[in-house]
């Protein structure tokens, strides 16, 4: 009886630990990469439709304050925002960090001096954090 209880107890503890580990692994391996890329795409979709006009040069503090493409440069959104500038409150733990930089068309690794020249691309980089852990950094090129 005692031996059976001991085996059963050990087994239940082991099973609970294994299932918890598997659940954590699922969150790390399955949910996190998909969520990270989805949040980055929300910023890309928003950036595509924003005017390229010059503003005050300051990054937006919230989604509602994003009116120009320039407002995204240097912005950090926590909770993250959707392409329609809504706050995604159910992903409160996540952060979108945005950088926009003009780069040379011939070598997009090099920064460009004139952001409005035809031989220039805009490089949009969205880094997505979960808590303080970086879950991914994604790049798109856009027309100036």
């Amino acid at each position: 009886m005692l031996l059976g209880t001991l085996v059963l107890g050990t087994m239940l503890v082991t099973a609970t630990t294994a299932l918890t580990s598997a659940a954590v692994a699922q969150d790390q391996l399955v949910t996190a990469p998909v969520t990270a890329y989805s949040l980055a795409r929300e910023i890309h979709s928003l950036a595509l439709v924003l005017p390229r006009d010059a503003g005050d040069g300051q990054p937006a503090a919230s989604g509602a304050a994003v009116l120009l493409l320039e407002d995204l440069d240097g912005a950090s959104f926590n909770p993250p925002i959707a392409a329609d500038r809504r706050r995604l409150t159910y992903d409160e733990d996540w952060t979108q960090q945005v950088a926009i930089e003009p780069v040379e068309l011939g070598d997009p690794a090099q920064p460009a001096a004139d952001a409005t020249a035809a031989g220039t691309l805009l490089r949009l980089t969205v880094t997505v954090l979960q808590g303080s852990t970086e879950r991914g950094s994604y790049v798109w090129w856009m027309s100036p």
Partner: protein, 305 residues
């Protein structure tokens, strides 16, 4: 009792292993799903690159990294005067995307002003009717015919004139100039500028020139204007396109018929060097009969535990 415990142990172990397998498969699927979307994003970036390269008259073939873990290869091939074939191949984390499409383009102006083609330059040099303008020269109540040729640094003033030809500057012909070579064209009264048959569709080709109206000008300019700056405060109509280094200043009484609608072709005498994309099409690939037969007879490999 012991048998019951063992049975329970087997049951719990099965549940744990099943869930762990689910996690492994789901992780693999998630990695592939993200890679597919990143490859799509890289292809999207490749299309943007092709669009900008056409505008900047840049390279037509390139292979570049989009961020740290995605690559894209772009190739644009001429397939007619305004038709291009675009091939994009992108990859991310081992997943590849490929697409081939057609681009319909039209000539436009980007960083550089349009330039005279070599045949247009020859036509100017050999033109039988050239009116040379040297220094400051004024014409009033007259009709000028042929090529009105502004030498370096010339100042042309037209008042109540008809130009049955084209105004061309020496810098336009040479393709280069210094600040001292720049010309000016002043307009007043009733002004009609058409175009010479040798430069059909071109009214003013002077990329160095400041074109200024004195406020009294009543304009009908039939062809396109290429100049450094354009400031017209009178009234009338500019029927052709305008290409200027600085943003033109036009009185709202000056009409721009045809402007702002669909793209208009530039005159054959001018080369813009830049193109914009009017239409993009990516035809759906159709499997060949052999591919269709191979799909029908494909046998999936057995699932390996």
């Amino acid at each position: 009792m012991l048998l019951g415990v063992l049975l329970l142990a087997v049951l719990v172990s099965t549940v744990c292993l099943g869930y762990a397998r689910h996690v492994v498969i789901a992780a693999s699927n998630a990695e592939a799903a993200v890679a597919v979307q990143q490859a799509e994003g890289a292809a999207d970036s490749g299309l943007v690159w092709a669009k900008q390269s056409l505008l900047a008259a840049g390279d037509r073939t390139v292979r570049l990294n989009v961020g740290s873990n995605a690559q894209v290869a772009v190739n644009v091939v001429d397939n007619g005067s305004t038709l291009r074939t675009l091939t994009i191949q992108s990859s991310a984390s081992g997943v590849t995307q490929a697409m081939e499409g057609s681009l319909e383009t039209y000539a436009t102006v980007a960083d550089e002003l349009p330039q005279l083609t070599s045949s247009a330059r020859n036509a100017i040099v050999t033109h039988p009717a050239v009116v040379d303008v040297v220094g400051s020269q004024s014409f009033s109540a007259t009709t000028l015919t042929g090529i009105i040729y502004l030498h370096n640094g010339a100042h042309l003033t037209l008042t109540d004139c008809i130009v049955a030809g084209t105004i061309v500057s020496q810098p336009a012909l040479a393709g280069r100039w210094s600040p001292a070579d720049c010309t000016t064209i002043s307009l007043g009264g009733s002004i009609v500028i058409e175009s010479d048959p040798a430069l059909a569709g071109c009214s003013i080709v002077a990329p160095d020139a400041a074109v200024i109206g004195d406020g009294s000008e009543a304009l009908q300019i039939r062809g396109c204007i290429v100049c450094d700056s354009l400031s017209l405060t009178g009234w009338g109509a500019l029927h052709g396109q305008i290409a200027s280094t600085s943003v033109p200043t036009l009185n709202r009484s000056i009409d721009l018929p045809g402007s702002g609608r669909e793209p208009r072709a530039w005159p054959a005498a001018l080369a813009t060097g830049s193109e914009r994309i009017g239409r993009v099409s990516f035809p759906r690939p159709v499997a060949t009969p052999a591919q269709q037969a191979a799909i029908r007879t494909f046998v999936f490999p057995p699932d390996t535990p």
